[in-house]
Amino acid sequence: MPLLTLSDVGVTRRGNIILEGIDLSLEQNELVTIVGPNGSGKTTLLRVIIGALAPSQGRVSHDASLSIGYVPQRLHIDPTLPMTVARFMALPQRHSSDAVRRALEQADAAGLADRQMAGLSGGQFQRVLLARALLTSPDLLILDEANQGLDHRGTAEFYRQLARVKRELGCGVLMVSHELHVVMRASDRVVCLNGRICCQGPPDTVAGSSAYRDLLGVDERDAVAFYRHDHAPEEALS
């Protein structure tokens, strides 16, 4: 049974169609990536899924007990708000210090608990956000361009982390990303979005489809680079 199902979901804002006819289901233990150009409705889709935005049509159905771990695109913490990492982890619910330590370790953020959120580097901040999302042992982990502020290497590391977390927790993972090459290798399924779903499937199939190339403007050189990476040794993911 899928964790979450969207049937014919559409979002219209001020007369503009942002999303239409979205049919999508997410399975347990599956890592799904949404790719698409700017303004294609990626973030809107995530906001519908976490319940921050009611769809104008269609419906989102999931088990009432589904717990979602959410990692936002960026989180601005006002400088007037003092916040240690440990306190941030305990929002909105407090957890045992053991659980907090474990989550920080899982996200490779151990030892940061006493630091101020404002003093963290981009990569540390992102790992703390991930750790917080992991605290509740979510059934579904949702990440909105969680690699912002990370360089290429940092992004690759972050995704390896995600794949490991998914294996450990057995949760579903849904993310939005721009980093096509890395995404392609880490994902079980890729969804191309541009207001509607243009194509979806296993990374190889999608990368070879013309819809994907048209949508993201991947030219031959990029494709070559992509295939060369694809034949790299597998240990990168383990």
Partner: protein, 272 residues
């Protein structure tokens, strides 16, 4: 009895208001709602006029008008005008309309200054009951909703994902703000209520590591300012409300200077 002494009543009134205003003020600072607090407070003078015309209790009139004002601003925000423009219009419009409306109330002798800068020395036993009732209600609301309020202050989407409705939490703050304005009008007056919200919170910021400590430190600083201001006003024969704000500002200067020195003497820790 002890409460017969007007100074004791004033001290208790100031303490009650400061205890409620300071933690709420932290949210006002964190969410950048300072002007919002001003607008709500300035609307109170219109509430004064209305309660005189309708001869209802001052507290009820001020509470109702402040609440309406806060709700109206919340609803109007994000619809055409920038928030600061909208608040700039409503805050001063409310004050102006309130002052004009008060002038229409004939036959009643009104001490307008008393409402603008407060008259803490005239706090009666009944006022004390209202102040402490309102203050405890605000503190109760805040501690009940604290985790949800804090999460939605950080990020609305983060709140949604945790099953919290940020709009409802905004409403809790709006209601608390109206309550604080209604109980504080007697103590510091409509012009200075925002100071009692913001200055203690800003004073507490440099030496606070968590939101909870900042709220508690702000409450302590608020109480200290209220009582210190009262003593200073009594000794130097100055207006009490403004003296309280002056003391709070002096404390703010002390901690922000200390904070700046500490940052300079201790180089920022490296990233890793």
């Amino acid at each position: 009895m002890m409460l017969d002494d007007f100074l004791v009543r004033a001290a208790l009134g100031g303490t009650g208001v400061a205890l409620a205003a300071a933690p709420l003020g932290c949210f006002v600072v964190w969410r950048r709602m300072a002007y919002f607090g001003d607008a709500t407070a300035h609307a109170a003078i219109l509430g004064v006029a209305l309660s005189l015309v309708l001869s209802t209790s001052l507290f009820a009139g001020v509470l109702a008008v402040s609440l309406l004002m806060a709700l109206a601003v919340s609803l109007l925000s994000g619809r055409g005008y920038a928030m600061d423009t909208l608040l700039g219009v409503t805050a001063h419009a409310a004050l102006a309309f309130g002052l004009v409306a008060v002038s229409f109330v004939s036959g009643v002798r009104i001490d307008l200054m008393g409402y603008l800068v407060g008259d803490i020395l005239a706090v009666s036993r009944q006022d004390l009951a209202i102040i402490w009732g309102g203050a405890l209600m605000v503190l109760g609301l805040l501690s009940w909703r604290w985790p949800a309020l804090l999460t939605s202050t950080l990020n609305p989407d983060l709140a949604h994902a945790a099953g919290i409705n940020p709009k409802r939490e905004q409403l809790v703050l709006t209601l608390s703000l109206a309550l604080v304005v209604a109980v504080a009008i007697k103590v510091v007056g409509v012009l200075l209520i925002a100071a009692l919200l913001i200055i203690p919170a800003a004073t507490a910021r440099p030496f606070s590591r968590t939101p909870e400590r900042m709220a508690m430190a702000a409450a302590a600083i608020g109480v200290l300012s209220a009582n210190g201001g009262l003593v200073a006003a009594y000794r130097f024969d100055t207006p009490t409300g403004p003296t309280i704000v002056c003391i709070a500002t002096l404390l703010f200067l002390c901690t922000s200077l200390a904070g700046a020195c500490r940052v300079r003497s201790r180089p920022a820790r490296s990233e890793r």
